[in-house]
Symmetry: D2
């Protein structure tokens, strides 16, 4: 294990630095015989790409993905699927000022200490640019999972929060706003707030929520590989994530068991869904529902105190083009990681069936 | 992968059902030459064991661990360490009433659907009894990690919450109360509340927090195996856990970047620690700080509506001996899982050093 | 990875030293719903156990296996199957003479250097006693694989070799002789030869061959996890094994392509089977055929020159009870490892099927 | 696991088909701070490349490797190293004749049955072209292992065999001949024999031997991950390999223990080396010595009987440009795989050291 591979069956290994030649990955374990819709994959990438709206980074990257192997005549062959996205608008000179200075709450200090030698340009490997590769793989996973649907959305930006029961949310509205909040009034408020924050050279955090529908009963492995444990790890591996909760989450800790338990109905659904679709680490057929906490972006257009590699005090201020709030672009990333987990667990589940031949 | 192994180097594989012959596990990858203090391991188990106080289950288990291999003349040999804990007070007849009925918010329904055949006695494999094996392995990991210290404690029970900055908490008080809350006044309130809840046949949730001190800089693997992602998975794999947050967590999403960023000081520490000791997935040398949300225990001493395996409506009510609140006994489990993660990542870190010979 | 686990899905982790309390293991990933025949498992263990005939070690071990978990009402539950075999006739005093002296061609020297601290009694973890755990797991795998049959047999002892085309061998004769050679005349010669070798205080090597019938087409993963590569690793992991060949093996290197190629017939079988049932790393439906080379047992009842842990010259001579030739008892071990590989690859194959729900 | 990854720490994942856009891979787990000699890597690739001499395939590929990530300013950063080799001279039309016909002893039949859909051009993923990626990674591993030296050589071609004790071989002669046999007279014989075989439209097999010098004592993991078991798997995963033996191998099975045991000398070396440098699965500091059996190349320039995908009888004859004997080009591949195993086990060994901080 060296940390750049996700999944056990549908295994994604990614490579690439923010300002290197390219980023990309290899997907190993994709079932053979799947007809691939390349446009749908590109479309998911476009949801994540920089420059898509006024409230995200203005770095210009088309993020066009090229597949190198594993797909023949439009259909997967079961062999590794390699893909690459060129880094086109990589303005490395924007980063000369941080060559020797550690940006607060970035990975500069920890990478330097761990590896001794790092590509400091734009965060190098620690840049969220890496997540584009996840979106490619996730988009492919979605195509294999056909009937399962993934609905991530912006739940909150700063203190602006969507206090609506998840059952009442109309997911068709999510893409209507550049904030990806499926409530048009709130979406507008969020947009204005993000603009205001950016103007002040500051940044803000937020929460992405996700609902997965039509997950078959029985996904998840006891004891350590519970479905929500793997979902949690997947989400916590996304840049800037500081928290994960499923179903009732932290709020549920304040409830009594008699309020919290989901009564089981005759049709094998449950009357409430505080479990968030997972019981004992295994999906129960109800919608899977979880939330992901994103901290404020660490790069500010303001002076911050820090030190340089020789432990001298230094001041650092963001240059380049950065997101004031990561949440709108994080929505497709959350969906992608969710799709990777669900597909991996579907394949795992298939593996463990009793042998028949 | 089949889910019963945790870790990559210091690898724990557990076995056993709540009401079978025994539970236990094999630890593979333990470094050789470690002098083992068996009493210290047993002491950790005693912190988790049933019957230790009036606010936990009254099942009588001494939980004595027997080691079968891998330790010779009191010192580890580098070969697998197998251990076993007998199930002594397993009253299986307590469970005949749930042979065919699914308990709400338990794993009965999901195990039945996934496996078709299950050991229904006391939850079988899905019982939290399995976590005793984790505590054994975690206690061993702690002994190897010597200078690292793990301080889990009860942060909240229901709405009773310790609203104190983590720096002000005196961890030496944790074991003074049967609730394991390191604030004597609040601990007393919690105890009374749990008693009241139990009397009403109900249960309640809570939050365990944990501080890890003296973690060396540089633990954690990019991109998918970030240190806090693995900690999150470890915690979410504990029974009844519905959420995990590190550092500022969900609260941090409401902050501005200028408030949230941890300024780096000349001694390479940070002025604040909203990052919770991890930046870019790698430890930065500051205390690691996280919280774990436990839902209310699902077994109630009250009638609940459910269905049986034939989809007929049924009523189910807890018998046997159960915890009204899992939090006090969860404290050593959280520490154990944290120790497993930290040791595993220390060994990983060693592996990746440049070769010298 | 720490080396005591075999398999990816049907995962066996073993523990135990030759002269410790017990040996055993945990099988994780066994499909649920398999009715287990415990007697058949014990019978396989009896084929491997010491003292079964006059040409094997006279150590007295009944090798009775006890299952601790994962089987409920005689049927697997899908949860980990733990098992244990007590060490009853462990005469540790037989080994005090090798506490400080390295036996030639044993693992004493290498374990001491690797771990610094070792259980020297009877080889400790490096003893072939560990293979009893493999036989248990292999016997279970055989029961799941029902229609697949495993036919290992003694192919040669020293220079006494069965030069018969594999198609002409009557596997029903294998168990008729204590040598497990399915040719009664040769079996008798082998038996006499082993007796003679033992009388002289010496030991001898040999070859075990194995034919696996009814393996479905399509098992094996490109590129690194070819079916025969995993079979090879499985066999080479057995104590005393120095070589592995499949199909034509080393002899095939002397052939021309026009002699060696297996022509494909209308019924999708091949006219010859120099491929040994595997092409491109994937089973082709023909019998899988391979050979495993076992070196002579390293423990001699003769003086041998060596050194002690302080690098002084020393002499060492076997005490205790040892096999003059490991081959007869290795036959069930080879079958067990073959069964573990085939079952693991069957489950892998299931995992990679296209998703349908 | 899906089969396209090798190694646990120094992890190589490869992609690409023989006649696709490109082949390549990602190396994850490379230690940071290694200065990379790119020319030395290209030189290893040149030893494997087609068209290098008259006795190998005349396909024209420069096989120039391009690195995409993980190396910054000529030094490894510890992040994934991606690389790519373009397929330039891929004459796909050469393969239209095998679109629907299975070539005997190739992977056409097994891939078709396993995946249903395959890239038939030049064997697609099953082509030995994939091994170029292994050579890249192996060359990098060699640079990290500095003091360890890898000496593979052609041991036999057909029945022409180098019957010389390994200690007497002058490895500096290996590259002097296009056959890579370090005995000039025999090399010449081999060359002529291969030419003769090619003229007749046929192919021939052979054996590659390898000696690894200066391997530190203590590499190898009990029980299942013995050093020679992993070496065996590595070699058996190379296209066309049918056998592996270490040290005395199959010949050793005919010896008595008193002949075979390697006496241990005062300097901790052994008087003989029938063990081949590995005892109990762990390196003992002596040269590691093993042999690898390559079957004759399956593609013949002769008519062969086979069937097509509809089970009709068919005839197939090689077109395109193929090797009459794979052995000379296999020499650098064997070295590469050996280097991957040794480095991986060095990193594993580092991981398991006792913790000190």
């Amino acid at each position: 294990m060296a940390g750049n591979t996700f999944g056990n069956f549908f295994k994604l290994t990614t490579f690439g630095e923010s300002h290197g030649i390219s980023i990309g990955g290899i997907i190993d374990g994709c079932p053979a015989g799947v007809k691939i819709n390349l446009e749908a994959i590109q479309k998911e990438l476009d949801r994540r790409k920089p420059g898509q709206s006024k409230i995200v980074t203005q770095r210009k990257e088309n993020d066009e993905v090229v597949f190198k192997s594993g797909i023949f005549e439009g259909v997967t062959t079961g062999t590794p699927i390699a893909f690459e996205i060129q880094n086109k608008d990589a303005k490395s000179k924007d980063y000369s000022h941080i060559k020797d200075v550690y940006r607060p709450s970035h990975a500069d200090f920890t990478y330097q200490k761990k590896y001794g030698h790092r590509d400091y340009r734009g965060g190098g490997r620690s840049s969220a640019r890496e997540t584009a590769s996840r979106v490619v793989a996730g988009a492919l996973a979605k195509q294999i999972l056909k009937t399962v649907s993934f609905h991530a959305f912006t739940y909150s930006v700063g203190s602006l929060s969507l206090n609506k029961p998840v059952e009442e949310i109309d997911f068709s509205l999510t893409e209507n706003s550049i904030t990806r909040c499926p409530d048009s009034a709130l979406a507008s408020e969020m947009k204005n707030y993000i603009k205001k924050v950016r103007k002040s050279g500051d940044t803000v955090g937020g929460v992405v929520a996700c609902v997965i529908k039509n997950v078959p009963v029985g996904l998840g492995e006891p004891v350590f590989d519970k479905l929500h444990a793997e979902l949690g790890k997947a989400m916590l591996s996304i840049n800037a994530v500081k928290g994960f909760e499923i179903g009732s989450g932290f709020e549920g800790t304040k409830m009594l068991g008699s309020q919290h338990n989901d009564a089981i109905l005759k049709n094998e659904s449950t009357s409430s869904n505080f479990s968030g679709g997972v019981q004992g680490g295994i999906s129960n057929g109800m919608p899977i529902y979880f939330k992901v906490a994103f901290k404020p972006v660490a790069t500010l257009m303001k002076d911050q105190k820090s030190i340089d590699v020789d432990k001298n005090e230094a001041s650092v201020k963001g240059k380049g083009r950065h997101d004031p709030c990561v949440v709108p672009r994080a929505v497709p990333i959350v969906e992608a990681m969710a799709a990777l987990v669900v597909l991996d667990y579907v394949l795992l589940h298939q593996a463990r069936k009793n042998v028949e031949f």
